[in-house]
Amino acid sequence: MSTRSYTSAPRRTLGYLALVVFAVIYLGPFIIQIATSFKTDADAANHSLSLIPRPVSTNAWQRLFGYGSGEAVPFGRWLTNSIIVATCITLGRVFLDSLAGYALARLQFRGRRLIFAGVLATLAVPGVVLLIPRFLILKQLTLYNSYAGMILPIMVDAAGIFIMRQFFLQVPVELEEAARIDGAGIFKTYWTVVLPLVRPGLLTLTILSFQGSWNEFSFFLVATSDAKYNTLTTGLAKFSSGSLGSGTQYPVNMGAALLTTIPVAILFFLFQRQFSGSQLSGGVKG
């Protein structure tokens, strides 16, 4: 490709330059965030771009864990709630979505097509339209301000059912038939034969469910009002928007935001393929 060698050197330099510029734009905010969490309030406000805290202060971090000076931040409670809620939602989704996904992929029953169409239709409902409806139903069922109320409504998601159905469709049908011929019941076949074959699907669903429920904000906002149910997202949002009274305490805000990000970041670096693969399930081959 002789035409290429003419242009390749300057163009490559240009390419790297663009990559580096965007890497700075993409990583810069996180680096500033980390640096700020080790600053004093005054230093953070006055030298916001500086990456070196002067003086280095761990006060923000101490406050997050219940020490240090200044108003205590109930970070431990937020963290505990996030862990409880995200874990329950994840377990529920993995179990119930895959059950439903299997039935929709493999079992013959009257109404299956209709149900599948219905599940797909719920995907089209914009999330923000659901805020008032969910508040209403939680009130009616007296589940408002309870863990059950935070978990149950989002313990099944249509997208998860759809993903699992796609994975089950790829399992060779002969395996199930063989197991049934041997007299295994439908649930036993599902549990011992089919489920182990869709481990990649279960892993994808686990990661997505955890990420989704860990980051969930608007639903928890309308499902609870009592501060003892605050998760990292609702607690942090209320804290920083001042209803708990501290709009400009940047180091604490940045530290808490960082801790909120870390669990998902770890998952992301371990399982990047599952994250990106799921984004591509919209029909394009990965």
Binding site: F109, T122, V156, R180, L236, M254, K285
Partner: protein
Amino acid sequence: MSTSGDRTSPATLAESPLTTADVNVPTPPVRRGGPGIRGRQSAAGWLFVAPALAILLIFLVIPIGLAFYVSLTKWDGLSSPFGGGAKWVGIGNYKNLLTQDSLTRQNFSSSVRNNFYFVLIAVPSQTALSLFLAVLLNNKMLKGKGFFRTAFYFPSVTSSIAITLVFLFLFSGSGAVNTLLGYVGINGPNWLADSDGVFHNILGGFGIDSPPGWAKHEFMNLSWWDWLSGPSVAICVIIILVVWTTAGTFMLMFLAALQNIGEELDEASELDGASSWQRFRYVTVPMLRPTLYLVLTLGLIGTWQVFDQIYLTGNNPATTTPAFLSFSQSFNNQAFGVGAAIAFLLFGLIIVLSTIQRRLIGDRD
């Protein structure tokens, strides 16, 4: 249950689950199941989907119906709306929002305007940026692309609340962005507190500070001058944030599509003497059409629903969106009927706009 053929014990199956060759079942009697199997499958099928179906019905389908009922009432959110706690007003809430002069209607108009400019700028920007990053990463000559891909994609998976807090700090009055602007001699605005429209500011630069006569007329309780204000400086911060966070996801979609196109076509057109811009414009972009449609649709649906980021900017008329107004009318003003009506209007708007978009650029096959 048909029992012909040699059996494979469950134990062997468990040991070698994937090798279909070992499970050598002669298949004649498997006629998609006899009546017995079908009956059992039918019961099991319903049993398997029942929990998921129940949750979707109880916490998604039925509540939408209840909320629609509430949108036809005046309800304060305290008593039960179905035991006489809500006063029936029919289409009153919708009518007030669309036709009656009031402060609520003015807020609704501003929120629609804010979100309109938000979508108008954010959707093309995030599409262009994600396509640009994807093309950059698809370049065979560059190395270390995995690192950059991860860096660009990472913000997409993080908490919207956490990342918005970082941006509010970066764009604060004496924040990092204004410090940077200061280095090049620009006195940055106090971003989030600045409710001036960008178009107004540009006109102001030409000495036009007040509306001409025709622009003083009102539409939906908002003067034409205010409708044409452009995005507020404050909401520009949210636009930048949303473009920055979502571009990574869309970049991956474009990247997958680009890798599917393959090199042959590109090289063939290169031999035909096409310049790299021509090749991109006339060969690559048409091939990306389905992905482009997907990205634009997801972008449109997502940006009309922006909520989390707006919540953190506080109850600010310069950044309010219909989604947030629906929330604040309900939960801060105890006007759940109005809030629900706004939510359904937004729902309708999203459906109408995505239908129009499908007509315009959707798959024509």
